[in-house]
Point group: D2
Chain length 348, copies 4
Amino acid sequence: MTVKVSIVGATGYTGAELVRILHSHPEVELTALTTRSYVDMPFDKIYPHLYKYNQLVCEEMNFPKLFENSEVIIIALPHGHAMPVALEAARLGKKIVDLGADFRLKDYRVYEKWYKVEHEARKLLDSAAYGLPEVNRDNIKKASLVANPGCYPTSAILALAPLLKHKLIDTGSIVIDSKSGVSGAGRGLALGSHFCEVNENFKAYNVAVHRHTPEIEQELSRIAGEPITVTFTPHLLPITRGILSTVYANLLDPPVAKDRIREAYLDYYKNEFFVRVLPDGTLPQTKWVSGANHCDIGLTLDSRTGRVIVTSAIDNLVKGASGQAVQNMNIICGLPEDMGLYGPGLYP
Amino acid sequence: MTVKVSIVGATGYTGAELVRILHSHPEVELTALTTRSYVDMPFDKIYPHLYKYNQLVCEEMNFPKLFENSEVIIIALPHGHAMPVALEAARLGKKIVDLGADFRLKDYRVYEKWYKVEHEARKLLDSAAYGLPEVNRDNIKKASLVANPGCYPTSAILALAPLLKHKLIDTGSIVIDSKSGVSGAGRGLALGSHFCEVNENFKAYNVAVHRHTPEIEQELSRIAGEPITVTFTPHLLPITRGILSTVYANLLDPPVAKDRIREAYLDYYKNEFFVRVLPDGTLPQTKWVSGANHCDIGLTLDSRTGRVIVTSAIDNLVKGASGQAVQNMNIICGLPEDMGLYGPGLYP
Amino acid sequence: MTVKVSIVGATGYTGAELVRILHSHPEVELTALTTRSYVDMPFDKIYPHLYKYNQLVCEEMNFPKLFENSEVIIIALPHGHAMPVALEAARLGKKIVDLGADFRLKDYRVYEKWYKVEHEARKLLDSAAYGLPEVNRDNIKKASLVANPGCYPTSAILALAPLLKHKLIDTGSIVIDSKSGVSGAGRGLALGSHFCEVNENFKAYNVAVHRHTPEIEQELSRIAGEPITVTFTPHLLPITRGILSTVYANLLDPPVAKDRIREAYLDYYKNEFFVRVLPDGTLPQTKWVSGANHCDIGLTLDSRTGRVIVTSAIDNLVKGASGQAVQNMNIICGLPEDMGLYGPGLYP
Amino acid sequence: MTVKVSIVGATGYTGAELVRILHSHPEVELTALTTRSYVDMPFDKIYPHLYKYNQLVCEEMNFPKLFENSEVIIIALPHGHAMPVALEAARLGKKIVDLGADFRLKDYRVYEKWYKVEHEARKLLDSAAYGLPEVNRDNIKKASLVANPGCYPTSAILALAPLLKHKLIDTGSIVIDSKSGVSGAGRGLALGSHFCEVNENFKAYNVAVHRHTPEIEQELSRIAGEPITVTFTPHLLPITRGILSTVYANLLDPPVAKDRIREAYLDYYKNEFFVRVLPDGTLPQTKWVSGANHCDIGLTLDSRTGRVIVTSAIDNLVKGASGQAVQNMNIICGLPEDMGLYGPGLYP
């Protein structure tokens, strides 16, 4: 059974990563790669690491033709641009995975407030499933439109879900201190991605106002069964790939034991291949998951202050974007969830 | 007036940085550089960036001779090794700046608990001043032994002092999430400093157990006038120089206004050249202070959660070590505090 | 058909890379990983990126037992240490791939001169095949001991073979200017691999005296059918993986046309999947082959000076070491040459 | 004696570096900083590392006013844009240092051929001095317009001048293999300067066609007294600052001794503070000169092939641009040549 897949907006970093991953996927045939900037250019001229692997030529987004030849449409466009594509694809009964933010926030008013864009597909929004399989697999299975999570939310939600599920923490005390590599900002040109501005440098940015905040809060609230507000601080690392989130929360009284916390994680993720709860004393490093679809989690109890400190690491382009998109595609197509995604990180 | 200075343990990174800084200091003559590993080797052979600048040859630590020719002894040895040197220097009436941890913690029992070393100079400890001039200048002026602060504590204490002084935060809510470049671990060989283990990588380490924790707590408690316990998490950045600390605290009720916070900082640091409270909306970047003795501070109010988020940046080898040592030396020698230390960071 | 493979010296970077690659190899079963430093330690504790993938525990090199359970022995030891292992393995009729230098130089006197070690296995040396499949496949097929090439030689020989084969250059004019990432120096601790000494830095080293020189000359001489001496200059790049060699040679009179050069390369490598002669105007970048077994080649003619400038890029740990070892193992085991090695680089 | 200096085009990296250096210059007063993109913006808002140091506000280039208040005009504009500014400044009798290429090539036809721009100031070109003090100081002293050299030419010419002056090499055999940090490409946005495209990567570019080639050839020819053609290959290093050039040439018959070569360099540079001929066995590293105005030179003789291999290292923004501009300004203003430029590199 071969699934025919088109990628809309294929020439950014997440698009290129989708192409790379899908070339190792035994049941996928790539049928079209669309672009605005590189029409008629061979994809391997834009991304020569794929020379000898990819023979497709980039094409304009051409709705009827595109949809005829594809069963699955993966959208890798900036937020605000996926809505019309998804509407058209849904109308024709295609399966859709959207890597952007347009279908992640269940309340369109929250979307419009944080993204300053009108939501043009509210009905479709209702049918979208939030695509974090480890916390929402049942809904994904039934969906034909999956909203692939943001990179920061993936790392933060997976770090916190077991604590909230087992009601181990004061839900008002959550602080998420995240650090991301530069590829999270995409291939577009910006001073903030200039090598000389990032290299041998480090900074916080968008402190307390980053758009991934409501997404994190939405999912944590759903898991906890109560409204949750968090402090979320993103930082820019001088690396290409990788996110490490350091998450702080106050344990509920009386202080829970360290073992109780570990058990909560081992239980929550007991059937999850892609989440690796590391052995006691081992803390995640971003490079261990470089190029891999894993989320590694490390647990520490600060008994002096009664806080739990969870660190989680992902490759923002894989588990934080394109790898997770393929994981979602596998789920909605009835394929084994790890197909094309099995394999450890590239270390060192 | 020329001050004769010897550096004990000159061949590590903080030693080399002392030599570099003191070459631009108009009132210092370097008289001796001691070493255990490189006896009889010209210093510029170990550190060729100083070729044509430094003509000294490294020598063994030779007490009487060393002290004869020096008025100030700067000690850049690993913790546990400064105590005998300081005892001897103090006996002979020399001025001392110690870059290590041996004289930072006022309670020797705390030192012995965290550093697993017996304190052999308890009496001398009583006379030592904690060398963070911006919070402790009056005591430094009177001291002849200055305990130069740790790199993390410098960044954390300067970030928090105004909030505590003005009693603006819940003192039980402090979380310090710090990120440091690799030079903080010194020039010694260790797998954790191997290029391939650090480059394109990021991790937390020593979570909740780092030895700088009691030092931070000691000084914050002194400023606040009450015992303070903090959660402190260090991380390793793939850069050579720089520390950025992101500090979280809950504001006291009723929530203070943003302006009130900024005023507290501007007031606290109004006469401090080396602390730069950045303009509203500007957040520090480590590279802006690379090679400079500044501590840059950025302020953000997370009004959704009632937290203040302070980011502070230093060069761990300068304001976090050798630059601050020269600042302290200037103070105890009656020289202008910024002598040899004036100048912006090397950017980009 | 599953091949049972043991790795002797598995805990260095080339060992870890072998383990990573072989986990994706459908016809290999890893039976033992030997070590001197980490006996009885689970391999995934030394290399946690392999957590959930590898369940082997490191063991001492135990000859009879090791060889009983393995058909192929891959040796990843420092030079001088592979000879006794290979002798024992050969005695028992095992197939051997040695990643070190002990069996690369056909003349043991050249080996002893450059490596300052006595050659203890001269007879076995005679039967060893130099393991660069693209220039020596026929001999490899017949061999049971393959000497895997050095990383620099792989990049240099592949860059020059077509020019020499087609007698297009003055063989006395060859200059090889190579630049390598730090992983080429291994995981051992050395000041030259310390992050702070390498990061944001660049240098040449071992100029005109590097041990890979005679290996390059041996193979180029064989291809050219005449003795060839080259100037070879290695440099250290602040990256983990990758070698780029820039090779200069004077074209023979009358100057050959640009097309003639390109044709020589396309012809020489027409059946080689792992060598990619890039399109005209495209020059290799090390990251395009990161994690992949490709050698990318770019061609430029400097018509003003009559020189040809060839740049070649490999991942030093893959095509320059462990990937090529698996390629050689595939050949001597009769498996498809690209098994376990298919796939593009991880970019960006 | 205070010199009033304006910088035209101050907001690029070389402009910012001029500002940084001139803040440590005891005899300079900065009077104006012009810009096209940041009119009316405080300079320390564009470059916050200068916060508390620089109070100037960027202004449009305003000819009469600008020239009234300045004795020296330093031009840091892209090539093609300096000609009209220099014409106007020269008409008013100002001293000029131009960091771009407009006045470097003595033959305007060579300029027009390589830069594809018409030369609008041919007369002024005749009066310009090529600003490499170590090889052309006498002419600079007499000039009022100095053409500051390119970064690559600075490193290449200083590496070769003694060999040519002493006629030690075959002038037809020169190969210059140069590697530069990214700041050499400026602060402008381009995919080639995007962090993710450069980091953990390495490539050659503009092979055999780089515009610095005729500049290198012009000066080498002048020194040698005969026309010289070279092969020049630039590469892009994943570092911010630094150029290392590895230069190859065949020694003339009979082979000269190693000592003879070293003597030629020591003699040629015996009075030059900024050129450091490193001790035998020591090879330059770019970081040793980071932030400093030195050019470090290392010498190796490849006796097997009869080639000399010279490596030279500079900071491309200092000795390769802004530092050398200040050195030239000092010369034409009659100030000590090292004023504001004394000091070693920032290491590590």
